[in-house]
């Protein structure tokens, strides 16, 4: 609740599900997803656009939800980390991150995943350097990135072989 400012009702789709909700005009998109929709998989690490933990897919494009307002999402389609798996079956990238120990505390992981899902969609055969550049705006204090990079290359290969989009 935020009684200091106006509210607007917004309609949007998140992970394929339609929502319509009144929100305060100053609420960030990250807060809206986390605290209003209770999709707490999207994390907030800096609230100033540098760490990348809050990255979501906004109409398919990676975007920092801490730098957007919820009202800007009106009429748009979003994907968060909760929307990547196929039911209980993990996305190949999720599976590969686990196999390559590409996560420790897992706090940066949702932002890494959304960023890399976009990469693999746009570039199904990335080089290690492509992956490094793709996640150069996502900070991880635990892993030194190594496992994330090898997991992405592995997932890309499996996705190519399996014809997964």
């Amino acid at each position: 609740m935020d009684s200091a400012v106006d509210t607007r009702t917004i309609s949007l789709t998140v992970n394929g599900k339609a929502y319509s909700k009144a929100v305060s005009v100053r609420m960030t998109l990250a807060d809206f997803l986390r605290h209003e929709l209770r999709l707490t998989g999207t994390h907030v690490g800096c609230e100033h656009g540098v760490c990348g933990a809050c990255t979501i897919l906004f109409d398919g494009m990676s975007a920092r939800s801490c730098l957007m307002l919820a009202v800007q999402a009106n009429g748009h389609e979003l994907t968060t980390v909760e929307g990547l798996a196929n039911g209980d079956e993990m996305h190949p990238l999720q599976q590969a991150l686990s196999e390559h120990h590409g996560l420790q505390c897992g706090f940066c992981t949702p932002g890494m995943l959304t960023t890399l899902v976009e990469l693999l969609r746009d570039n199904p055969s990335p080089s290690a350097d492509d992956v490094r550049i793709a996640i150069s705006g996502n900070l991880c204090r635990c892993t030194g990135y190594e496992g994330i990079i090898s997991a992405t290359l592995d997932a890309a290969e499996k996705m190519r072989a399996g014809g997964v989009k």
């Binding site: 609740m1 540098v50 909760e82 992981t109």
Partner: protein, 783 residues
């Protein structure tokens, strides 16, 4: 080098228990916790590094709609047993008491110190209102640089203090005076490693809720030490132990500072109690820069004495340690530095004078490595100097001085902070160094270097040795219980913050109880699940909690087999636990763990099979007072662009010995993460303060963490495995290893790359402008 593994779970890189929830976005971090009617806190913090508080006017904030309360010391003091957080570890070295107040009310001593807590219906409103709390300050002169602050007439960090010495002590043995007097060579230098910020990707956070039915106040905190937190809170708030519970939920990285108890934890708990409502505070990144403890600023004035062959005769000097504004933990970092510097080497005479100096900066407590990276930086820099002066190969100087493998266990003359003798328990340091050098191609590097130089490229190789004290005792309890549905529940105070503690405990337990990881549920860091606990720090989880888990699992295993043998009417030796059943080896009759658990839970009027004590539960606190010492050698290759000063880390080779590895992939992950942190300390991370101790790197755009594009190609590992004799599993800790030798190895490599300019590196981090300045200075001197 690595013994073949005859275990099925322990020693294997099994799937981590933690991964699935984290990957699916279903983990529960502290900010994911929500209650209906939850209120939110924003803190009013000091904008000044040092000032007196004349008055605090909260009326405008209180008038704001949506604000429930504004708390200052006046409001909370009547409800607290103490206005101060007295959490300092004991030591005779203190020269003054510098406890943090729960909220500052008379004086602020660093930017970011909490003065008031605004509690409102939302974080947004709380922050608006916090801006309306008017604090009238009289600013005071600041103690900014810890060296200057030692001067008798320096401005005091705390108003009216007799001086700025927070603590002082010395450490040493032998006779340095004679050793130096007779030495062939004495070399002198001053070294500096700069302060840094932990920067866990999750900041700190606290949620508190008072349950009106049970009157239990529960605090969820991103703390590494829930049991210690509970103890402090019970004392402060006067609550009975069974009316207070502290839970560590999923934690997004700790790296040290989250082991400290903070004022915010006390305030959130108190606010929930006062307002009878759930209350949340989540630190934002800007607060993390000024309200979460930092570490590493140390200045070392050192002298080393060696004989004509480069053998160390003595080491002596002065360590000036920036203590920050308060004693939030103790003298432990400086102690750790002083006790770490000699460890890999035979140093016959040693004396260090140590001053911990209070400054008007954020309080200093351990960050991953805890004083050891600085000590290794200094020792390794000194040895590079020796090599250069005596014209001996850098690795050869080290080889001549390393503690020989045959000397293990090696009794050093040093004592731990608890007064126990430091005994290097195992390992072969020269063999470790050799392994690293062989893998790195040390011998042939000169050729590559000359070729590169002929093309105008400056490449260099560096080396550093470390010995890490791990497994801080005395114990970490673990309880193991088989529930009546056959599930195995493991509980420990060993809080998890990303280092796979749950997986580690599950592995150790599963190995004895059926080898089914999916049948094990771990609670790590909940005072409601286990009575005693220390928490996560000092690379101690696997050593301490792992040993207790092993002991508890063995006890239960024995009982399960005994009961099953009665139930199945066969000898225990004929039985094995496989998955969720006990069965005859090779198949045949079997009984489920669930049935055994039910049987030992007892039925009124019937015998318990085997006449055992009721219940299938064991809690063990294996006591290990002596620390176990891990060791390693890191070789780093760099290329330096002498036009721009840019350093590219081309290669990292890491040979190490952490005893038996419970999970090789996790071990490597811990080390790579530490290496990334250490590279940041060597090249990027700069916590900038201006001359008024005003922090000026306050965002992640200004304070640079290493990103994927600066990381070297995959780290090349050599794993050596000398089991520690101090615990049954033969393990040594590893959580901090990666970070410890990095600044030393990188400095060594850069100096080597720039050898044609003859630069002398004495500080880290080294930014591109620093590199250019080094080249310029050396060129001017040479000209």
């Amino acid at each position: 080098m690595i013994a073949p593994v005859d275990t099925r779970i322990v020693g294997h890189s099994v799937e981590r228990l933690e991964d699935r929830a984290l990957l699916m976005g279903q983990a529960r971090f502290v900010d994911d916790i929500a209650f209906p009617g939850m209120l939110h806190i924003a803190f009013v913090r000091s904008p000044h590094a040092h000032a007196l508080i004349n008055s605090i006017d909260k009326s405008a904030a209180l008038d704001m709609p949506g604000v429930h309360a504004v708390l200052t010391m006046d409001d909370i003091a009547p409800l607290l047993a103490d206005r101060l957080l007295k959490v300092a570890l004991p030591s005779p070295a203190y020269r003054q008491e510098l406890h943090r107040p729960v909220l500052a009310d008379k004086e602020v001593v660093h930017v970011g110190e909490a003065i008031a807590a605004v509690i409102a219906e939302s974080r947004y409103v709380a922050e608006d209102a916090a801006a309306l709390v008017f604090v009238d300050f009289d600013t005071l002169p600041v103690a900014n640089d810890c060296r200057d602050a030692m001067a008798p007439d320096a401005p005091r960090a705390h108003h009216g203090a007799p001086h700025n010495i927070a603590a002082e002590f010395d450490m040493g043995y032998g006779d340095c005076v004679s050793a130096f007097a007779g030495a062939a060579h004495v070399l002198k230098e001053t070294y500096w490693q700069h302060r840094g910020v932990a920067q866990s990707m999750e900041c700190r956070g606290v949620v508190a809720n008072l349950d009106p039915m049970s009157d239990v106040l529960t605090l969820w905190s991103s703390t590494q030490t829930p049991h210690a937190g509970k103890r402090v809170l019970c004392g402060l708030l006067g609550r009975d132990e069974d009316k207070m519970r502290v839970i560590t939920p999923d934690v997004g990285g700790g790296f040290g500072p989250k082991l400290v108890f903070y004022p915010e934890e006390a305030i959130v708990a108190l606010a929930a109690q006062m307002l009878q409502a759930p209350v949340k505070w989540i630190e934002d990144r800007r607060e993390h820069f000024v309200a979460t403890t930092q570490e590493r600023d140390q200045y070392w004035d050192m002298e080393i004495a060696v004989d004509a062959q480069g053998k160390i005769l003595g080491l002596r000097g002065l360590l000036i340690h920036d203590h920050g504004a308060y004693t939030a933990r103790g003298v432990n970092i400086a102690y750790g530095s002083a006790a770490a510097i000699t460890l890999p080497y035979v140093v016959p005479n040693y004396f260090l004078d140590i001053k911990l100096v209070a400054t008007n900066k954020v309080s200093v407590t351990p960050i991953r490595g805890a004083g050891q990276p600085q000590a290794v930086f200094v020792m390794e820099r000194l040895l590079d100097r020796v090599a250069r002066e005596l014209k001996i190969d850098r690795a050869e100087v080290r080889r001549r001085n390393l503690v020989p493998g045959a000397a293990m266990p090696y009794k050093t003359p040093l004592k731990t902070r608890g007064g126990m003798q430091v005994v290097l328990d195992s390992g072969d340091y020269p063999a470790t160094q050799k392994a690293a050098l062989d893998a790195a191609g040390w011998e042939d590097f000169k050729i590559r270097q000359n070729d590169a130089r002929a093309q105008g490229r400056y490449i260099g190789i560096g080396v550093a040795n470390y010995v890490e004290g791990t497994g801080r005792g005395p114990f970490e309890p673990v309880s193991v219980r088989v529930a009546e549905n056959g599930r195995i529940h493991v509980a420990s105070g060993a809080a998890a913050m990303g280092q796979s503690t749950k997986t580690m405990l599950a592995q150790v337990v599963a190995e004895q109880l059926g080898c089914d990881m999916s049948n094990i549920v771990v609670v790590a860091g909940d005072t409601g699940a286990i009575e005693l606990g220390m928490g996560g720090f000092n690379s101690r989880q696997a050593v301490m909690a792992g040993s207790s888990a092993h002991a508890a699992a063995l006890k239960i295993r024995k009982k399960i087999l005994l009961v099953a043998s009665h139930m199945l009417n066969v000898g225990e030796q004929a039985l094995e636990i496989e998955g969720r059943v006990v069965r005859l080896k090779g198949g045949g009759a079997q009984v489920e763990l669930a049935e055994i658990a039910k049987a030992v839970a007892g039925l009124p009027g019937y015998y318990i099979p085997g006449n055992v004590e009721p219940g299938l539960q064991a809690t063990e606190h294996v006591i290990i007072n002596d620390m176990t010492y891990a060791n390693g050698t890191c070789a780093v290759e760099v290329e330096v662009d002498v036009e721009t000063g840019l350093v590219t880390v081309a290669r990292v080779v890491f040979a190490h010995d952490c005893g038996k590895m419970l999970h090789p992939k996790i071990v490597e992950g811990q080390i790579i993460g530490g290496i990334a942190h250490g590279l940041g300390n060597a090249l990027f991370e700069w916590m900038a303060y201006d001359e008024n101790a005003q922090p000026v790197s306050n965002t992640l755009a200004e304070y640079l963490l290493i990103t994927a594009t600066e990381m070297p190609p995959p780290v090349e590992f050599v794993h050596l495995e000398s089991p520690s004799p101090l615990n049954e599993l033969g393990i040594k800790g590893v959580g901090e290893s990666g970070v410890i030798p990095m600044t030393a190895a990188v400095a060594s490599a850069i100096e080597d790359a720039l050898a044609p300019f003859n630069v002398n590196i004495t500080k880290v981090p080294l930014s591109p402008p620093d590199i250019i300045a080094l080249i310029d200075a050396a060129t001017r001197k040479g000209a």
